[in-house]
Symmetry: C2
């Protein structure tokens, strides 16, 4: 058959192909991988190339517009070589490391995340590669796996390629069923690739991945198209481990209490993830087998429990986790509802109380590459703080307790419909105005509402700087119960629960302890590196809480440093966002491991510094008012 | 505490250690790994060092002789540093790559194997390493695995270290139970190390390994001490797959015949290996968990069945195996009775009918490094032939059939007690003299006996060159039955089975076809590379058969080339010997993979060359008598 030469631009690579070869195949021969979401059916429109010169046969134009066709745009899969050609492959048609992100993925990520992903480059944890292999003969009798291996090597370059026995077992029938066309799902693991699935012919579904945040309270799962980077769906729910206790300590206690408990509590969190995955898969008609990899982040205890590793020593002095970094495990080992051979990568921990969720958050802040001094605070069931820049990173954890997630507060609740998120108190009439999530009748009060409430109680003079209710105020909203004093935020008839919603003096004291612990943690880190509060260039707040927080109120009560609002940034659930980033980018996965090593941990229980800072912070805003110049005392 | 400097010779490395440190620990600090089989108890005597100068405290001398003590020899584990020292560590006390083999292992290996092992160096598939880790504190709070990893890195150098989840799960309790002393079993895999076991304190048992030959008929297992290289025991038995057929083809047919058959036939061979392992472990009181790795060799079908990979396409033209090289699998995946995390390495195959057993044999012959031209023949249920030298290796398989293992022959049997192994026939009286394995009454006739018998029948003129019985001979030993002619080798009263032991004309024809196939294979390989029989410098015969074979008789019938006896060498079961070598030496494992790639396969069913050669070889010794100048025609 007639041979023609096809020159690809701007690469300036030329290959010889027989007449009627598709431009897509010719590009493959030249080592240029063109995107082909639909597997060469002409329907996805991803494989657009520009014909510069030469004769072709056009067998389909798919969704190409009239203007595109006029401009010489062709679908590489549906255009056959009929003479010597010159073809330009634009960057957006290439599947490569530094792929320009498509509009669809941009829409779902913040600008910051898009920038990070562009910087790190798209190299997902798993991808599908399609090949046509030569049919064997008596003289060309290479073994099935050896033949596939040689082709894979061409695509993956140097480096080890592993294949599990279960894939080897499938291989002969798959190759023959596909008439030597095969789609191979390959995972990109540290220092090696692993084949995790083979399918006959050209698979039309992409490889999917999971980004998982394993919170002590809430678990969030993203299903991600690893080819486009797009988030197909996000779902979250309560961690089923909650029945063994609200905080990590009670979970640890349960897990070591009796034989079998560790397996039970591991099963609970795996089930939580699985139900979310099942729900997303059903909704989007995605097969479990096509979910080829997962990246998960959680605090150290959550990470160990997820892997079935006893967190016993996390709780016992000197608080030693079993691992910081752990090599990837397979989904099958954990019982996750995805391809059992798919890798599950855990973000590394720094210490027993600064875990992978914080490393993931730090990755999203990009503070490890910042020139300026950045303070990262993640307020969840615990409060973790990281301070630093490109040269160093220090971290600590303060037992803030679950106040800001609603725990230990009479009417505390999480930020969901019915939660009071903003409070205004008239300093003269003591009348109250509330803003409730979802605009419904109030049920309770969430973290941001509590911060607001504390600030406004102080502003109205209802409580003093130590959090004591003032006796000389006359208002039917302030009342003495048998055990405590309280302030009524909403009357029973206004509320959903038909009970007065109140905040008690005890609640106020709990909140002061919690905010004091966080502020004392910030001060301890600063003291460790001999820096002052005002030297912080940027404060990044993470955690569900962060999305709603009113900065001036948080400063008012002494929870956050007294710095201009423009230095504050909120990034929401940075744990799952970092997992998403790592799922899509090899460089981000490498960086995560490096971050785990780079971050120094300050154990606050050593020495008296923290305790001194804590005691000083048990006032509104602080005993040292010079730290809060903007607050009227 | 006082610090002293210890200088190690001939390395000239100096370390500072506190008083009372053992020389063993000091050496470890210097990165010099001294052998310590008993784990520092002073009982094994492996850690001998020579004190050149300085003050020490001797706490034990174990089995050291008076002369040794006089000469300054000390046990490194039982000698404490009490001043600045200078210590020589002789090569035999070092656990290192190019370790000199001990007497015990020499006794169990042939000189050739010892030479090969010394050339490749001792770097076993797995070994135990002992550490003392620093107890963690609030300020030195490294995670358990991170701490162990850093120590392992010191011992193992660059390269990836993996750890399975199950070991991570054990780690915290093991470290604390051993008071931060730990023994780690590490497997040496291609391009990475893997931790497969952690034990508290200093383990006193070595790591063991299995060398396995999976023959179609017989399975052989060696249990090997991976520290000393010593073979603890060897046991062999019939492959339990025999109930599904005698040859590979019938096994393949069974395995693809019905769902579940593949698992059943895989289970049969795994059970065969397991029963041998169990028997050896019971006898030598070895724990399964301490068997840390295995290397197995078998033909391509046996290898695929052992791994549960269907050999369907091995049998169908164009005879494509599923894999040649396959990455190591774990014992747990196969259900082998050893540490489930231990790696099982299979010798690579060359083609569907030249398998890992042949690659293993070629490794033992070292022909891939030979200047001279070597011919390797393994005659088992099939006949595989390899020809070559350091520059090239060609191989083929000839369907010799199971004759030489006793199959398809009226009184055929394997070479075991009761088998006739030598036959003499008086050319005048036709009286017969037999040599029987074990000196017992004859039961049947084995391969070497059949070769002998054929040569002597011809010599006595009882058969012609085509194998036809001569009609004009008068002897009561020669008789006509209903279907056939036969010659009586032993009368019923002389035999174990109380039946006349005979060889029939049909047996003779079968044998001629078998020997013809092998000789035709040799000639086809020679023709492929345009060489002549007399250019072969050395012929290496492997297979159980090889041990008893009488070369002049084999030449007489045209089974083997007519070359001087001194060019022949017998190496027995080279498949298990190669597995033993690979178990002990990383270089041998690397070489095995390279061999698999280097060997070219000649498919004899392509073209007419083989068929022509085969037809020419269906005479005693051959149609072309010029090929057999030493044979009287």
């Amino acid at each position: 058959m007639e041979q023609y030469s096809v020159r690809f631009l701007p690469d300036n690579l030329t290959v010889q192909v027989p007449a009627e070869t598709s431009i897509l195949s010719a590009a493959g021969k030249a080592g240029i991988v063109i995107k082909s979401g639909c597997g060469g059916k002409g329907s996805c429109g991803a494989c657009q190339v520009v014909l510069m010169s030469g004769e072709v046969k056009v067998e389909g134009t798919g969704k190409l517009s009239h203007e595109q066709i006029e401009a010489g745009v062709h679908l590489a899969c549906k255009t056959k070589v009929m003479g010597d050609l010159s073809v330009e492959v634009p960057p957006e048609s290439r599947l490569q490391e530094h792929q320009v992100l498509t509009g669809s993925i941009k829409g779902l990520l913040s600008e910051k995340e898009v920038n990070l992903l562009q910087k790190y480059g798209l190299k997902p944890l798993a991808r599908k590669i399609q090949f046509s292999l030569a049919e064997p003969t008596l003289t060309e009798n290479t073994a099935d796996w050896a033949k596939l291996y040689l082709e894979l090597k061409k695509h993956l370059g140097e480096g080890k390629i592993d294949v599990p026995l279960s894939v080897v077992r499938d291989l002969p029938e798959v190759l023959r069923a596909g008439k030597w066309q095969v789609t191979v799902t390959v995972a990109d693991l540290p220092e090696r690739s692993e084949v995790i699935k083979v399918e006959p012919g050209q698979s039309t579904t992409p490889a999917y991945g999971l980004a998982i945040d394993i919170g002590t309270t809430t678990v969030v799962v993203y299903l991600v198209n690893l080819e486009s980077g797009e988030i197909i769906d996000k779902q979250g729910t309560y961690n089923k481990q909650a029945r063994y206790g609200d905080d990590v300590i009670s979970r640890i206690v349960f897990s070591v209490d009796a034989p079998g408990n560790l397996e039970e509590i591991q099963g609970a969190v795996v089930n939580t993830v699985n139900e979310l995955v099942d729900s997303i898969c059903r909704k989007h008609k995605v097969q479990r087998e096509d979910i080829a990899g997962a990246v998960a982040a959680g605090n150290t205890t959550m990470t160990q429990l997820f892997l079935g590793v006893s967190p016993k020593y996390v709780r016992l002095e000197p608080y030693i986790p079993t691992f910081s970094y752990v090599p990837p495990v397979t989904a099958g080992e954990l019982g996750l509802h995805m391809n059992p051979r798919g890798p599950v990568i855990m973000f590394p921990s720094v210490a027993s109380y600064v875990g992978g969720d914080i490393v993931s958050g730090v990755l999203v802040t990009d503070m490890a590459n910042a020139d300026e001094l950045v303070l990262f605070i993640d307020i969840g069931t615990n409060g973790e703080i990281v301070l630093g820049n490109r040269d160093w990173l220090v971290s600590c954890a303060c037992s803030a307790g679950p106040c800001f997630e609603g725990g230990g507060i009479t009417f505390g609740m999480r930020a969901m419909p019915g939660a009071i998120e903003r409070v205004d108190i008239d300093p003269h009439t003591y009348d109250v105005e509330l803003k409730v999530v979802g605009g419904r009748k109030p049920v309770g009060i969430c973290g941001s509402g509590l911060v607001d409430c504390l600030a406004k109680l102080r502003e109205a003079g209802i409580i003093d700087r130590a959090g004591n209710f003032q006796k000389d105020i006359e208002s039917h909203r302030i009342r003495q119960t048998e055990e405590d004093k309280e302030f009524v935020l909403a009357w029973a008839h206004q509320a959903e629960g038909e009970k007065d919603i109140v905040i008690s003096e005890n609640d106020v004291k709990n909140l002061i302890r919690a905010k004091g612990a966080i502020y004392a943690g910030i001060r301890s880190l600063l003291r460790m590196v001999s820096l002052e509060v005002e030297m912080i260039d940027k404060i990044v707040i993470a955690g569900g809480f962060g999305n709603y927080l009113n900065v001036p109120d948080a400063v008012q009560i002494g929870l956050l440093p007294d710095l201009p609002s423009e230095r504050y940034e909120f990034i929401g659930n940075s744990s799952v966002k970092g997992a998403h980033l790592a799922l899509l980018s090899r460089q981000a996965r490498v960086e995560a491991v490096e971050l785990g090593k780079k971050m120094t941990y300050l154990e606050l229980s050593v020495g008296n510094d923290f305790m001194d800072e804590f005691v000083s912070a048990l006032f509104l805003p602080h005993t040292d008012l010079s730290l809060f110049p903007s607050v009227d005392s």
